[in-house]
């Protein structure tokens, strides 16, 4: 696209599609505001930008100057950020149009987008089911064809898991590849902005633009933006590792598929896999309890008035402003950091994390280029199904959390249907070899069936 008229047309068409997609409750931005903002942006965008005119929706835990940033929470109900995330600034500099903010589990804590203060997002193919989470809104919009791509965020799989459940592509880059400046922090050592897209190409183009060095984020590596690889003819020359811990049943279908693509396949072991979810659910809540300490109604956000003194203000604001899942995680996190429990939980979990990361290094050191696993244990579950037992919900992350713990890049692509519902498979790549991983994803995408639109 290079013509301003095309950009404007894109803006208007996007607005129309987003209106139609309102029924999924995926987009939190009111229609009028959205339409107006899209048109204004189309008029101001740089025609020479590589994403010129491309509408990209943004998960509501990423700060934008346009629209509110609520993080799916009451505590930030009408919050407008006075600055924008680096990723968003880069999108705009590339000519993209910010197509509204998407619904998510509150502060990105959840795997179903049922924990949003603004209602759950419906699965575009079956409204009794969840789209996954926490980036459920972004995944649903892409799956519904409303936008070609959307930004999400991952801490334990929150881009890949909804991508798998909705039948779209979801990429989590290597930790430190994309700046976290402006991503509302949940688990700082795990968080990364990721991309959901209609295709590997759409998602990768966006990832390429938002990646690269940023002095404002001390955990962002001093590297050039990701360069897009060529689409390979086959997977000739690749060695794909299949970790047996991720395939409870039969490894054969996956092995056959990759051999057909010309890759060499090897079974690998990642012995500490079983400890990944427990490790994650110590570290992530711990960091969350710290990162969410700033929400107290004193300087911004919602305040619950009538408080007699400032302690009461904090306790009421946080008690009422946070939903049950967030409250639970804050309490859990506070507990595992508190004196007397720090060593047994937090310090031990940090050591477990090291062992898990070591498992991956060992596998890669043995000549494996990439790992392939299912993204989720099953397709989209019914709304309400996992709300009673928090641990049941946590187990949806069983295949995804390891990549976050190890800081490795991972990508989920749709690989088929189970009883009519989409399911994804993921590659986990080596640190900073995101482009190799994308190559493999391109190749795989060519041989698996595309998703239907909602």
């Amino acid at each position: 696209m290079s013509d301003p008229r095309e950009a404007l047309a894109s803006a208007k068409a996007t607005a129309d599609r987003l209106v139609k997609a309102k029924r999924f409750n995926a987009c939190l931005t009111p229609v009028r505001e959205l339409r107006k903002a899209l048109v204004t942006q189309a008029q101001a965008a740089h025609p020479s930008g590589v994403l010129y005119g491309m509408p990209v929706a943004v998960k509501d835990n990423i700060c934008t100057l346009e629209f509110t940033t609520t993080c799916g929470s009451k505590i930030l109900e009408a919050y407008r950020s006075p600055y924008e995330a680096t990723a968003v600034a880069k999108l705009k500099a590339a000519g993209a149009l910010i197509a509204g903010k998407t619904n998510c589990d509150e502060f990105a804590m959840g795997s179903s987008t049922e924990h949003s203060a603004y209602g759950r997002t419906l699965h575009p193919f079956d409204k009794t089911r969840v789209p996954g989470g926490s980036s459920g809104g972004s995944a649903a919009l892409v799956a519904a064809g409303a936008v070609p791509a959307a930004l999400g965020s991952e801490t334990g799989g929150s881009v890949r898991q909804p991508a798998s459940l909705c039948g779209v592509v979801g990429i989590k880059p290597t930790y430190g590849r994309v700046s976290r400046w402006g991503l509302v922090a949940f688990g700082s050592s795990l968080d990364q902005i990721g991309v959901l897209g209609r295709s590997v190409h759409d998602a990768a183009r966006v990832l390429s633009v938002i990646s690269g060095r940023d002095p404002k984020d001390a955990t962002c590596e001093d590297r050039d933006p990701l360069r897009l690889p060529n689409v390979p003819e086959s997977l000739q020359g690749f060695v794909i590792g299949i970790p047996k811990e991720y395939f409870p049943a039969d490894l054969d279908p996956a092995v056959r598929l990759f051999k057909e693509l010309g890759a060499a396949v090897r079974e690998v072991a990642l012995p500490h896999t079983a400890y990944a979810v427990p490790t994650y659910y110590i570290l992530a809540p711990a960091e969350a309890s710290s990162n969410l300490a700033r929400y107290d109604g004193a300087r911004y956000g919602t305040r619950f008035d009538g408080s007699a003194d400032v302690r009461a203000l904090y306790r009421t604001t946080r008690g009422e402003g946070f939903g049950p899942e967030v409250r639970r995680r804050i309490l859990l996190g506070t507990y595992v950091l508190s004196s007397g429990y720090y060593d047994a939980y937090y310090r031990k979990a940090q050591q477990m994390r090291a062992l898990i990361a070591q498992d991956f290094r060992n596998a890669f050191d043995r000549g494996v280029d990439l790992l392939f696993t299912p993204t989720t244990p099953s397709p989209a579950f019914k709304a309400g199904e996992k709300l009673d037992d928090p641990v049941a919900m946590y187990l949806s992350d069983i295949f995804t959390v390891t990549a976050n713990l190890a800081g490795l890049p991972a990508i989920s692509i749709p690989i088929g249907r189970i009883k009519g519902l989409p399911i994804g498979g993921q590659f986990i790549g080596q640190a900073f070899l995101d482009d190799e991983m994308l190559e493999a994803a391109y190749a795989l995408e060519r041989v698996v069936p595309a998703t239907e639109e909602a």
Binding site: P82, H272, I282, R303, D309, L313, F322, L331, Y335
Partner: protein, 101 residues
């Protein structure tokens, strides 16, 4: 690992989070369940030599000391729930008397 109601209240105080009487039993139950679940990492023997793993750069980068503030699209007075004469306002500390810091 059973978490008592008292412990939940103590943690809630540390976290400045109001927990109502009705919510307490379920919360204690959920927390116990989760803590039981995560405690399984103790099945792995303590490996003394294992250094914690944190992804990202190995060393902190430094910034030049110069006055170069990050611009705000609008000021604190717009953000604040309560603002007067240039100050953020909160209800006074109660029994928690502090000196001007």
């Amino acid at each position: 690992m059973s978490v008592t109601h008292d412990e939940v209240l103590k943690i809630a105080r540390l976290a400045e989070l109001e927990v109502s009487e009705d919510a307490l039993p379920l919360l204690a139950e959920h927390m116990s369940r989760i803590l039981d679940y995560v405690a399984q990492i103790n099945a792995v023997p303590a490996s003394e030599g294992v250094k914690p793993f944190v992804p990202g750069p190995d060393a902190l980068r430094f910034r030049t000391d110069e006055v170069k503030p990050i611009p705000l699209a609008f000021g604190p007075e717009t953000l604040a729930p309560a603002f007067k004469d240039g100050f953020f306002l909160v209800p006074k500390l109660g029994a928690f008397e502090g000196a001007d810091s």
